[in-house]
C-alpha cells in the first residue's frame, strides 16, 4: 500500500520543488518563514518509500535531499558564514519562491485558456474541416529534398541535345510559381518539374519552392509517402 501511494506521488510531483512546496503547504507555513531543516525529515520519508532508486529519474530528488541535509547540518554547527557566500538555504528558498509564483501564473493561464477556448475564431473551424476532408500530411523539408534528388537523378539520365545558355533567378521562378498558382489554384510539383528544360532550372525551381514554403507563401502537401506533391498558395498572413 505504502509503495502504491508513493508511485502515485512521484507521478504527481514532477520535481523536488513540487514536493517541497507541497510539504510546506501541508505544514501551513509561508515559504519565507519555513525552516527547511524542519521539513527535511518529511522530505526524506517520501524518498525512503521508494523501492530501488532510478538515478536518472530521481536524481533531481536526490540532489535536493542532499541540499536539505547540508542545510540541516549547517544549522547544527556553529555559524561559519563567509562574507559574500550565499547560504544554500536562501538559495533554495528563493527557488521555491519562484516555483510557487510559477505555479500561480500557470493556474492563471489555465483559467484564461479555459475562457478563451470557448470563444471560437475563424481558424478553428477551418482547421477541423480541412483535417476531416483531406487528412493530408504537410511535407517536411527532408521529404521535399528526397523527392528533389530522385527527380535530379532521373533528369541526369536524360540526354540533352542542346545546351541552352540561359540562367535562372529565384525571383523570376518565384513569380512564375506564384503566377501558376494564381491561375490554376494548385500545382502538381512533381509533374511540373518534368516540364522544365534543364537541371539548372530544376535546381533553381526547387530552391524557390523551399523559400516559398519557408516564407509561408505556399503549402506543400502530399497524400502519401513518395506520392505526388501538390502546392497550394497559402492565404496571405498579414
Amino acid at each position: 500500500m505504502e509503495l502504491e501511494s508513493y508511485r502515485i506521488a512521484t507521478d504527481f510531483f514532477e520535481g523536488p520543488l513540487d514536493l517541497l512546496l507541497h510539504l510546506i503547504r501541508k505544514n501551513r507555513v509561508s515559504i519565507l518563514d519555513v525552516r527547511l531543516a524542519d521539513i527535511t525529515s518529511e522530505y526524506l520519508a517520501y524518498l525512503e518509500r521508494m523501492e530501488g532508486i532510478n538515478p536518472s529519474r530521481e536524481s533531481d530528488f536526490l540532489i535536493t535531499a542532499a541540499t536539505l541535509i547540508a542545510i540541516k547540518a549547517r544549522t547544527l554547527l556553529p555559524r561559519t558564514d563567509l562574507p559574500g557566500e550565499e547560504s544554500p538555504e536562501k538559495a533554495l528558498i528563493s527557488r521555491l519562491f519562484e516555483h510557487d509564483q510559477l505555479q500561480k501564473i500557470s493556474r492563471l493561464l489555465q483559467e484564461m485558456e479555459e475562457t478563451e477556448i470557448t470563444l471560437w475564431r475563424r481558424e478553428v473551424i477551418e482547421e477541423s474541416f480541412s483535417s476531416r476532408e483531406y487528412a493530408i500530411a504537410e511535407v517536411s523539408a527532408f521529404q521535399l529534398s528526397e523527392l528533389f534528388f530522385s527527380l535530379v537523378r532521373r533528369k541526369e539520365k536524360e540526354e540533352f541535345l542542346t545546351v541552352a545558355a540561359k540562367s535562372y533567378s529565384i525571383e523570376a521562378k518565384r513569380q512564375e510559381i506564384l503566377a501558376l498558382l494564381d491561375k490554376e489554384g494548385f500545382l502538381d510539383f512533381s509533374a511540373w518539374i518534368w516540364t522544365l528544360g534543364s537541371l539548372e532550372e530544376v535546381v533553381v525551381s526547387f530552391f524557390t519552392l523551399l523559400e516559398l514554403v519557408k516564407r509561408h507563401r505556399v503549402v506543400a502537401v502530399q497524400k502519401e509517402l513518395f506520392g505526388p506533391i501538390s502546392l497550394w498558395q497559402q492565404a496571405a498572413a498579414n
Partner: protein
C-alpha cells in the same frame, strides 16, 4: 455605400472583421474611416459591441494580440462543438502551462533557464509549445553553445485573450490575486 454615419461605420467595421482571417490593426481601420480621434473610433467600436440581437448574439468584438477580430459570443461553445462534430477540445498540460508562463514572463529565455526554474527537464513541453505556435525561436543567446532563445507569439496572445504582454499581471498583482481567492490546492487531498 457611404461611410457617412456612425452606424454605417460600425457596420463596415463588422464587415471587415467578418472577412478578415487575422486580427485587424485598429490604426488601419481608424485611418480608413478617417476618424478624427481615438475617441470617435472607440464610439464606433462601442456601437458594434452594443448591437442587439433579441438577447442572443452570434459574435462579439475581441481585442487581442494587438488587433480586432470577431469571435463567437460566450455560450455557443458546446453547440458549435456538437454541430461540427468536434469531440475534444485540447487544453495545455500543467507542464506546458508552466513552461509557457516562464517564457511569457522571462522572454527571451533558453531551454536550460526554463528547466532550471521548473526544476525538471522541459524539452518536451517546449517542443509541444513550438508545435502549437504559442512560442517561437527568438535568436540565440551569446553564451557558449549558442542556445536557442524562446519568446511568445501573437498566437499566444490570441489564445489567452491578451491585448499585449503588458496585460499579464505583475508579480505583485499575482500575489494579491491569489490572496483574495482561497488558494485551491493543486495537490491531491491532504
Amino acid at each position: 455605400m457611404d461611410l457617412d454615419t456612425i452606424e454605417r461605420k460600425a457596420a463596415f467595421v463588422e464587415a471587415v472583421l467578418f472577412v478578415a482571417k487575422e486580427p485587424v490593426d485598429p490604426q488601419r481601420l481608424m485611418a480608413y474611416l478617417r476618424c478624427a480621434d481615438a475617441g470617435e473610433f472607440e464610439r464606433i467600436l462601442n456601437l458594434l459591441e452594443e448591437r442587439e440581437g433579441g438577447g442572443a448574439r452570434a459574435t462579439v468584438l475581441k481585442r487581442a494580440g494587438g488587433g480586432l477580430s470577431l469571435v463567437t459570443a460566450p455560450g455557443w461553445h458546446e453547440q458549435l462543438k456538437d454541430f461540427f462534430s468536434i469531440r475534444t477540445t485540447s487544453r495545455l498540460s500543467l507542464a506546458s502551462l508552466e513552461t509557457l508562463a516562464i517564457v511569457a514572463y522571462r522572454q527571451p529565455v533558453t531551454l536550460a533557464e526554463i528547466s532550471d526554474l521548473r526544476g525538471v527537464n522541459s524539452a518536451g513541453p517546449v517542443k509541444n509549445l513550438l508545435q502549437k505556435k504559442l512560442i517561437r525561436l527568438a535568436g540565440r543567446k551569446k553564451v557558449p553553445g549558442l542556445p536557442a532563445l524562446y519568446a511568445t507569439t501573437r498566437e499566444f496572445l490570441l489564445a489567452f485573450g491578451l491585448g499585449d504582454l503588458a496585460e499579464l499581471p505583475s508579480l505583485e498583482e499575482l500575489t494579491e490575486l491569489f490572496e483574495e481567492k482561497e488558494q485551491p490546492s493543486l495537490f491531491h487531498q491532504e
